[in-house]
Symmetry: C2
Amino acid sequence: MHTTFFTRKLTKNFHFALLACASLVFSPLNTVNAATLNASEQADMSALSKTALKSDLSYDLVESLTTEVGPRMMGTPGDAKAIVWAVEKMKNLGFDKVWTEEVTGTQWLRGQAEAKITAPYPHNVVAIALGGSVGTGEQGLTAQVAHFENLDALKAAKPGSLKGKIAFVSYKMSRHIAGKGYGAAVGTRVNGATIAAEKGAVALIMRSVGTDSNRVAHTGVMRYKDGVNKIPAAALSNPDADLLVNQLKRGKPVSFYLKLTASIEDEQIIKSANVIGEITGSESPEQIVAIGAHLDSWDVGTGALDDGIGVAMVMAAAHHISKLENRPKRTIRVILYAAEEVGLLGAKQYMIDHKDEVKNHVMGAEWDFGVGKIYEMTPRVGASGLNAVRDLSKYLAPLGVTLSAKNNGRASSDMGLLTDAGMPSMRLSADGSHYFDYHHTENDTLDKVNPKDLQQNTAVYTLFAYFAAQAEVDFRK
Amino acid sequence: MHTTFFTRKLTKNFHFALLACASLVFSPLNTVNAATLNASEQADMSALSKTALKSDLSYDLVESLTTEVGPRMMGTPGDAKAIVWAVEKMKNLGFDKVWTEEVTGTQWLRGQAEAKITAPYPHNVVAIALGGSVGTGEQGLTAQVAHFENLDALKAAKPGSLKGKIAFVSYKMSRHIAGKGYGAAVGTRVNGATIAAEKGAVALIMRSVGTDSNRVAHTGVMRYKDGVNKIPAAALSNPDADLLVNQLKRGKPVSFYLKLTASIEDEQIIKSANVIGEITGSESPEQIVAIGAHLDSWDVGTGALDDGIGVAMVMAAAHHISKLENRPKRTIRVILYAAEEVGLLGAKQYMIDHKDEVKNHVMGAEWDFGVGKIYEMTPRVGASGLNAVRDLSKYLAPLGVTLSAKNNGRASSDMGLLTDAGMPSMRLSADGSHYFDYHHTENDTLDKVNPKDLQQNTAVYTLFAYFAAQAEVDFRK
């Protein structure tokens, strides 16, 4: 979808694109553009930056969400509380409109996990059910472990060769500022159970998709393929995966006990909601600058990083803009998506509910990655939009944000669906070097939030949203 | 006891001490001593250092202990396995004598822990029973939380003022290379339950004595005072302690549920053993250079740092010395103490069993602290011993070890009892900046061991032990 969209845009805007490229090559960055904003708007940008950099609002919001609500997996009491929390907060923060839009799904229950190496050297180990896994039954299951170093090795196993065994994939995710190790590791989590089942395995266990070395395992969504036996799937904490590998190295048969009391309750429809708040535009209220995050979290930590800081950041950004003397020209819409973790259910529902309005989304960005400072902005815009983005980058440079040479910045997670449907987008990339130490674990808690970084990132979102609301440009073109 | 001992020694050796002081003041370090070792021994020191720095033995030993045995709290099957493991390893490593000495104690069972904030904002939290705590009964208990910032504040509470409440001490341990934050924090763990009970509390909960921010709580031994009501005592993980503090800050009553199924089984005598191995001296076999560590661990991690690396280091050091062409002049005794964690039971038994032999312990050092490199050596010796120690320090300097200006180096934990009884001792201080991230938790696992640091530290112990075995000096004098 990305490539198709981008090609179409380039063709349509061929002359603009050529012009933009020429500017990029021949002119120094700080002289390419006529100023997109007028003097008054430039003063607003300066004031907004100062405000956001000294405000505790976004920290206070994530502190409140994690302390008063906590974990909020779709369909849990925490999810319902989070919706009430978000509506109340937005109202108190002076949003012009606040409303919810129903999102439905089916229930999955985590239950309890118990796991141990039973031979040759018995050890209790820390395991967690992958999101969506079936259970083992109360009695659990014990089987010999078949070890694979990565998903490709598991795929290469002969059909039937894992009959009666537990498949164990020990692939170790690598650390990277942009989280590039995730892509190489997450395939086992999503598809490993189906592939193992096709070879005859009775369960899948895997090293956690994470870069930490804590006895805390990482959950995350997995999927079954229709027609393939659904087998239980769990992640082991990384030190426990090491231990299992070390036992396997000794060459003796290793047996493993796994009990998951997880269950899929397909027949039980559960409800959640996207929570939406707006600062209504004063000149073109129908034109929407969308900033988003997801309100749900996994059920294990308090969802401080994933995605509490995103929720806090976009709410605070809109609030700071609402405190200016005048409303922005365009509407700033804060979208707090439901049920991202369990499969982008809120994002999919938003695309249905706002089908006819997608064309009015003039620009959008979501926060759903990282724990440190934003260091790079990557747009996905037309040629004239690119000129404006270059101008925006001058305001963000003092905050440590550089402009990527690429023009393929799909918005994060939920909002990526809007990018795919043609919304001009911005990817604001934050340092994720330590994100996967905590991602989808009990350790995703408030103490991991750096208040200074959060101020900086909130300032970036504030300036981005205000600029997009004021810029007299069609970012699509 | 330290002060008394040191004063007596100084008085007895007054003239030597004066002489030593004079040397210290007037002579540069590298010229004060005639060489303690002869040319052949100096060559041995050089060879031993090279061997230890390239040998994987100590890493392999801790890998084996953590993988094949794992947790080994006194009285558990792991403890029994560890004793068998240590005896076999020492025999295979070429020790001249290997034997065990029975140590007895009473049983404490950890059981399960379950804890949650029940109001105003319900949250499940991670808690662990302190070692030796009574249980709450299967039904648990729920009570209002009374918050104290530190132990002194708890002590200052009026008698009866905590009637029916759970006392919560939120003191946060600070990070320090020598673990100096531990002393300020551990008092709550050891005595907090008694003090809280004296004020009428029904339970004690505390922030973990640890410097990490993981949802993993720190256990450790606690004690009750005779005549005071025994109340259950648990530590919360640090992020959960933060959460509880944040809820308390809101000024509403906070209630808490605690269930510990721990139990003290006073009537059940359990057995363990000190495991002792020797490289027998060739000239003065009755004179003992003691190097030690404790073989037991808490039951939650695999005891890699506490004290697996110590066990590995002293076993490897003796082995490296045993591979020299000749046996050392004095005997090198490796003491793997039982039941350190639950109250130095092995060390106390050793003092009884070897009462008449204490005078023959010419020098000793134990490893029971730290995770990084050894950076300092602090002796506790007589004046002529100090001259020899200065000479030793020249061999350890290339390994990054500096000689402390102090002469009060009590040996670590178990072996401190030998220091107190007059054994000349060496404290080899290692970087403990990150030790209390893992100490007494599930996270004390093999991945925290840095193989390079372990080689370095093993080299230090090897050189120390060989030097002490060869030096023709009475370290007491």
